[in-house]
Symmetry: C2
Subunit: 148 residues, 2 copies
């Protein structure tokens, strides 16, 4: 059993945020001793889940729903599964998007490296959009692909 201060240390999450999560119902029936929150393994598991689902792009209220389902036992397996499947699809799409963004950023880094060497962008602008060096062109093209 841990106090809110210990959990805050453990996870690097401000105390105010932990209290806010509690207010939002993310720790259903957390125990207290004379008003003071007692975080057990159960709450730690929930926090790990919150961190993961938050990073996957879920909102707090959706996370609260998921946690509620976890409490309700085996009859909500399907709902939990469906939510996770949707998340999976969304995260996969986001990952593809981020790869394109990264290629765009990398291209722009190359671009400004060249611009710095030359002192201007004249040569560079003549290379656009399809006379770039092979590797750079590949990044540029990938970054500019239409999303399917």
């Amino acid at each position: 059993m841990y106090t809110i201060g210990q959990i805050s240390e453990m996870f690097g999450i401000p105390i105010s945020t932990l209290r806010y999560y509690d207010r939002e119902g993310l720790f259903p029936d957390m125990q207290r001793t004379s008003g003071i929150r007692r975080f057990t393994e159960k709450e730690i598991d929930i926090l790990r889940m919150i961190e993961c689902l938050k990073m996957s792009g879920l909102e707090l209220k959706e996370i609260r729903q998921f946690i509620k389902w976890c409490q309700e036992g085996s009859q909500t397996y399907e709902k939990r599964y469906e939510l996770l499947q949707k998340r999976k699809t969304a995260v996969e799409a986001e990952l593809e998007q981020m790869k394109k963004v990264l290629d765009m950023i990398c291209f722009k880094c190359w671009y400004y490296e060249q611009a710095m060497k030359a002192g201007n962008e004249e040569r560079l602008s003549q290379m656009l959009p399809d006379r770039l060096p092979e590797e750079i062109q590949a990044m540029y093209d990938h970054a500019h692909e239409k999303p399917q």
Copy 2:
């Protein structure tokens, strides 16, 4: 030259958002004819940049700064390059993070698939944390790696 309505259509961005971007100084010295905004190729280029930099996680005020540098010509190449390098590092880290999150989500999908088949989580809980089927274990372990 395009009107705000045409640009809104082209980019799928609400008119109110385009006006908001303008208010925030993202289209420095955009021309107007009798009060009506005229979007040219220049503004279209800026919008493409906004979309890319936004997806890379930059805030509007940082994007405004970048656009301002673009206006200032060749003496800001270095600043622009540095900002992009920082973004590159951040996006690379985010990408790695997202891969872990995806593995976590995939693991959980598998978990609930099994739970649905079995009707309970007893078998599953016995497999944690290191007696999972090989492929699943790999996902689980990757998802739980400590960030370096």
